[in-house]
């Protein structure tokens, strides 16, 4: 469903993403794991058509992204890394706007949205978005995406700013959408999310995939026989000497 071929992004001299080759099947939850600045958001932006790539190609639903941008954008749902929305709109006006712009079927979408609101206990729709906290914005952003029931869902660190209850609900919703046939690409730096939710995990560091596979595959990669994803992750990203660093301080 999501495929990239030698996808590369340079910011000037700096290569943020290098020769990325992904192949994500339909109905899969793919976790993109990496430390801060690894290139997760950059990859996400290229996949969703908000950032031009330097070279390579992106193929979604067997269509080239560059050639079918608008068509693909209408089947994608994206929760970006920052829930930025028009501050001078009220919550429900933003929802109306999204319904309009994606040409949603009204009754169906509204019903789904109301259910999601119920789950997230969203009760602030008549207030201006400018007065929301980060968590409130994130909830609204997530609901505005999920209510459309997109075929491909991208989530960039979706649990940041959510309370434990809402984060749990989000995880359950993602499972539900997967079971109903959506393909899900999610980035995170939280290992627990990757470990528990994702069918496959790709570990990215400094713009390159350094390991990929199911949880089982990754465990086999560990040279020191580590079992938790945390240790594997730290070993692979070369940060296993952190205890030495901490001691120095």
């Amino acid at each position: 469903m999501i495929k990239t071929i030698n996808l590369t992004k340079n910011f000037g001299d700096f290569a943020a993403v290098k020769n990325l080759n992904l192949d994500i099947k339909k109905g899969e939850i793919y976790g993109f794991l990496g430390p801060n600045g690894a290139g997760k958001t950059t990859t996400m932006r290229m996949l969703t058509g908000t950032l031009n790539y330097t070279s390579g190609s992106v193929i979604i639903n067997d269509m080239d992204l560059r050639k079918n941008e608008l068509k693909l954008k209408s089947i994608m749902g994206v929760v970006p890394d920052e829930p930025k929305m028009y501050e001078n709109l009220k919550g429900f006006e933003f929802i109306e706007f999204i319904m309009g712009i994606y040409n949603c079927k009204k009754e169906e979408t509204q019903k789904r949205f109301e259910e999601i609101c119920e789950a997230f206990s969203i009760d602030f729709l008549s207030n201006y978005i400018g007065d929301y906290s980060h968590g409130m914005k994130q909830k609204l952003m997530v609901s505005s995406v999920l209510m459309r029931k997109p075929d491909v869902i991208f989530l960039d660190e979706p649990t940041v700013g959510l309370d434990a209850r809402s984060a749990k609900i989000l995880k359950m919703l993602i499972e539900k959408y997967k079971n109903e046939g959506s393909t899900i690409f999610l980035t995170t730096h939280i290992l627990e999310i990757a470990e528990k939710m994702c069918d496959r995990i790709g570990i990215i560091n400094k713009g390159e995939i350094i390991a990929e596979g199911t949880m089982e595959d990754l465990k086999k990669l560990s040279t020191t026989g580590q079992n938790s994803l945390e240790d594997i992750f730290l070993e692979l990203t070369g940060e296993d000497e952190i205890s030495d660093i901490v001691d120095e301080i």
Partner: protein, 542 residues
């Protein structure tokens, strides 16, 4: 105090942060030119109002004693008081909420509160910061203050040194008077911050702009001398007595301002005392002020969602009309002509020039502001299944269509004041008006995308140089097209005049019709060019 200067210095530095040019070199841009560019139309307006007031008040400097009322004030004082009350109230209702908006909107407030900085200092720095944009009505008081001693002094036949002295007194009392207005607004801001959230404060300042516009039109209508009914002397005297009791009551600060300018030492002292009391109160009250937004939550369920067939337009219009600054820019070009209508100087040619100069500059400004709304949440709008070029270009056309509509309204109103001829003239003018609007909006948008990484928090999005370029272009094209066109209309109506008497009719038409036509064709060509360049810039944008 030193903390306050430090805060202001850094908030100012933040505004003039050097921008990078396209080669990545740091460019210095002066804050003053930005401020200047923004205030230029206001200054044009202020000077115009000054003249208007001068012409009006000159004939009104009639002592009330002449009407048999025992008072040292004159008719002028009554009318001046009405203007000062109006301007003062407007300043209060626009400035107080804007302090709150500034205070609650700023990320710095939260950080500063955790630092050992006095609350009154934080509050004052937010207040000074927001003064610039609310300063319009204060600026208009300056011409009033200047004109008063001129007219009053003239009537007393003062000698030159006396005149200079009275000017110095005027300046000091004007400062004291403005000090009172500022102080009262600060108190208002402190009071409102107790129950008003950021958005409510924004809405209130928006309403204030509406009020101001109505007020200007109303006041301009009211102060026209021929509106004063002199035929019925008894009614007039009675009205004046009532007016005097209200508008020049000693409870108003402006009564003492006028008094001080007329040489009353007691009034001057009262002004000084009022300042001291008010600022002491500001200091006391800010010490335990709540500086975090306390907007209340509305819990109301929405049962039916309305999905528009043009969601983008609906959203753009909502944002445009909800932002007090853009709303003001939208209505501003109408204020001028309406004042002209009511004061009786109805000349569609002059109105066209003034409207065009202001509207074309503001159209580009509004387009940039609307583009900025998308930039604030960038790159999220690129997720929409809409062509990004279309998304941006719609921002260019919306202000143009609104202003063209406003021009049509003016044209229709001018029909009622000065008949059919004016209507036709306006309709013909609509074509160049539209083209100039399109051109300046395109130029504005192009300027924006030449250097798209701008500070989204800042009010003056365009730099001073860019603003002045835009204003220059709109002035040159407005004058270049409308002066020959109106001369042509005079020529057609009443035959050759001025240098045209000496030239052949063919040459006359060639000049009067040729220059505007040439400029219009030039503009059409330039529009195409700008549009192409904008497309190229938008392709590159990510």
């Amino acid at each position: 105090m030193s903390q306050l200067t430090l805060l202001l210095k850094y908030s100012f530095k933040n505004k003039v942060r050097p921008k990078k040019d396209k080669y990545g070199q740091e460019k210095k841009s002066s804050a003053m030119s930005g401020v200047f560019g923004y205030l230029l139309p206001a200054a044009v307006f202020g000077i115009f109002i000054g003249f208007l007031f001068f012409m009006t008040f000159q004939n009104l400097n009639i002592p009330l004693a002449d009407f048999g009322i025992s008072s040292s004030f004159s008719l002028m004082d009554i009318f001046l008081s009405i203007s000062l009350i109006g301007l003062g109230i407007f300043f209060f209702i626009s400035y107080s909420p804007s302090i709150i908006v500034n205070l609650f909107d700023s990320e710095m407030t939260g950080i500063l509160l955790t630092m050992p900085v006095k609350k009154s200092t934080i509050f004052l720095s937010a207040a000074v910061d927001s003064l610039l944009l609310s300063g319009l009505s204060l600026g208009m008081m300056i011409p009033l203050g200047v004109i008063y001693p001129i007219i009053y002094g003239n009537s007393l036949n003062l000698s030159i040194p006396h005149m200079i002295f009275s000017f110095v007194v005027m300046i000091i009392s004007l400062l004291l008077f403005i000090g009172i207005l500022l102080g009262v607004s600060l108190l208002g801001g402190i009071f409102m911050s107790n129950f008003m959230g950021k958005t409510a404060a924004k809405k209130l300042s928006m309403l204030a702009y509406f009020g101001a516009i109505l007020l200007y039109v109303f006041a301009a209508n009211f102060i026209t001398p021929d509106k004063i009914n002199v035929s019925n002397a008894e009614v007039l005297v009675n009205n004046l007595k009532n007016a005097l009791g209200f508008v020049l009551s000693p409870l108003w600060p402006h009564t003492h301002f006028l008094g001080a300018m007329r040489g009353s030492f007691i009034s001057f002292l009262i002004l000084v005392l009022m300042n001291i009391v008010i600022y002491y109160l500001v200091f006391l009250l800010t010490r335990n002020m709540n500086m975090i937004s306390t907007g209340k939550k509305i819990k109301e369920k929405k049962s039916d969602y309305k999905v528009s067939s043009n969601p983008l337009l609906k959203k753009d219009l909502k944002l445009l009309f909800r932002d007090s600054q853009s709303l003001f820019l939208l209505l501003y070009p109408l204020i001028f002509p309406f004042i002209l209508f009511f004061t009786g100087s109805i000349n569609m040619a002059f109105i066209s020039i003034m409207f065009n100069f202001i509207a074309s500059f503001y159209a580009s400004f509004l387009s940039v502001m609307m583009i900025m709304e998308e930039r604030k949440i960038w790159p999220n709008p690129k997720l929409y299944p809409i062509d990004t070029k279309r998304l941006i270009k719609s921002k260019i056309y919306i202000p143009i269509i609104i202003f063209a509509g406003e021009f049509l309204i003016l044209d229709i109103v001018s029909f009622f004041f000065s008949g059919f001829e004016s209507l036709i003239f306006g309709l013909i003018m609509l074509i160049p008006v539209l083209i100039i609007l399109i051109y300046s909006s395109l130029v504005g948008a192009k300027m924006f995308f030449k250097n798209p990484k701008r500070d989204v928090k800042q009010k003056n999005i365009l730099s001073g140089k860019e603003t002045i370029t835009l204003e220059g272009l709109s002035i040159v094209f407005s004058l270049g097209i409308f002066i020959p066109m109106s001369a042509l209309s005079v020529y057609i109506k009443s035959g050759p005049f001025w240098i045209f008497e000496k030239m052949s009719p063919v040459l006359n038409y060639l000049i009067l019709l040729g220059i505007p036509l040439l400029l219009i064709f030039l503009l059409i060509y330039l529009c195409k060019k700008e549009s192409k360049e904008l497309n190229i810039l938008l392709e590159k944008e990510e």
